[in-house]
């Protein structure tokens, strides 16, 4: 069945089977392969995307349920020219090795810091507990997210003015 939603600011129409997950729709239907599929049953967090402002697991959502939504994937979080604050912090802190979990880490952290720019280390750890990393370990990832807060805090102050 045909569905329409907005991905990274662009309205798209795509044909899916009802059983197609949002993750598979993004990857196979729209060729947005930055979203990774790890476990396919909502345990690993690798497929996290942002739907209507909140982080969700795109393997636990049907593409048909995204009708009319605004979706941001990891591709929509940078402008291709300069590193985003999260990307720069991940690079600086060596917060990735194989990189498989990284898109999910970045989308999750972006959603968190957009809503809670002052999140403390305990909150960041709590939120990232839903994203499995099996090589780097969480210390550099948490450090990177904490460092990226400054950019989101500045943005938050700017918005309030």
């Amino acid at each position: 069945m045909p569905i329409r939603f907005e991905v990274n600011g662009k309205l798209v129409e795509v044909e899916v089977e009802p059983r197609t997950s949002l993750a598979d729709c993004l990857r196979h239907g729209l060729r947005l392969t930055g979203t990774h599929v790890g476990c396919e049953h909502g345990v690993c967090g690798a497929c996290t995307v942002i739907v209507d402002g909140v982080a969700v697991r795109s393997c636990l959502m049907l593409a048909v349920q995204a009708e009319g939504s605004q979706i941001r994937t990891v591709e929509g979080l940078s402008d291709d020219h300069a590193l985003s604050p999260l990307q720069a912090a991940f690079r600086k802190h060596h917060a990735l090795q194989c990189g498989f979990c990284t898109p999910g880490m970045i989308t999750t952290a972006h959603a968190l810091l957009s809503e809670e720019p002052d999140a403390d280390a305990a909150r960041v750890r709590d939120v990232l507990s839903g994203n499995l990393c099996r090589c780097t370990g969480y210390i550099p990832i948490v450090e990177a997210v904490l460092e990226a807060r400054a950019a989101y805090q500045a943005q938050d102050k700017g918005d309030r003015k």
């Binding site: 009802p18 909140v54 982080a55 393997c59 636990l60 959502m61 939120v127 507990s129 839903g130």
Partner: protein
């Protein structure tokens, strides 16, 4: 795995949704947040012919705090409970228990009604419903009915809900100020399903004795339940170390936990007692 193929429909009214469920006689499944159903479909533990999406039904959301208790609409998400500051006073046990539900992304989509209907014995919302003597508001082809929480859950992933019925709301009785309470659970990773959990509360009479003792268990059971024997033991007593130890021992003896790859029955039995002990200590503090 990919789910087996199914049809999909997204009705605009409750009556239409129930009619669709009734017409498909057990071959249809309702879906809201999908945070329990999607893994079940992915593992092909269920293969419904059609999914009825509740996402566009009006009036299923909303947290109402009234004189006669707290009403949670079926489509209220964990995120909504977590961010409702009123609930910390109106129902602190609910707020504390829900802070243990799953992980960040799941909390953004998972719903009260979905968790209740899924009926995982280790899930927090069913446990709180039973511990607090909540009432389920259920709608079906012949209208609405009310089901007591103690009667709702019949076993692991099993409830009295008919295939053409939907949970509309959960109503928790009012929470008196001054009520003593504690919630404890243990999972190997925060956000994972609990190996066991305990929700305990009581009121204090003028002489400092525990009254209206409620002790609810999740995880170390095939369905969430209250432990009547342990409650009776504590009723009317001063909640001191001796009373807590006796109550915890009674809980360990009374529970009938499953034995699986996550933990042995013996471990869960001991854990249930320990968690009740911790919850009561917190309540008495």
């Amino acid at each position: 795995m990919k789910p087996a193929p199914f049809d999909y429909t997204c009705p605009a009214t409750l009556a239409e949704a129930i009619a669709l469920l009734a017409a498909h006689r057990g071959e249809a499944k309702p879906i809201a947040g999908g945070q329990s159903l999607m893994p079940v479909l992915a593992f092909r533990l269920a293969a419904p012919k059609i999914l009825v999406d509740l996402g566009r039904l009006p009036d299923l959301g909303g947290i109402l705090i009234e004189e006669d208790g707290v009403r949670l609409g079926a489509r209220v998400r964990w995120r909504d409970i977590e961010r409702d500051d009123r609930l910390r006073r109106a129902h602190p046990l609910l707020a504390a228990a829900i802070s243990h539900v799953a992980h960040y992304q799941i909390r953004n989509r998972g719903t009260v009604g979905g968790s209740l209907a899924h009926a995982d014995p280790a899930a927090e919302m069913p446990g709180i419903a039973v511990a607090c003597d909540a009432e389920f508001q259920v709608a079906g082809p012949s209208g609405e009915r009310t089901v007591k929480a103690a009667d709702f859950f019949t076993g692991p992933l099993s409830t009295v809900l008919a295939a053409d019925e939907l949970i509309i709301a959960l109503r928790l009785p009012p929470w008196p100020s001054g009520r003593r309470w504690g919630f404890e659970e243990f999972a190997r990773r925060r956000g994972d399903f609990a190996l066991a959990g305990a929700a305990c509360f009581y009121d204090l009479d003028g002489a400092g004795h525990a009254r209206s003792v409620h002790i609810g268990i999740i995880g170390a059971c095939t369905r969430p339940h209250r432990v009547a024997k342990a409650e009776a033991l504590l009723e009317g007593r001063v909640v001191d170390e001796a009373a807590i130890a006796a109550t915890a021992a009674a809980v360990s003896e009374a529970v009938d936990p499953p034995d699986d790859l996550h933990a042995s029955a013996a471990y869960r039995r001991a854990l249930a007692g320990t968690l009740v002990e911790r919850a009561l200590r917190r309540a008495a503090a």
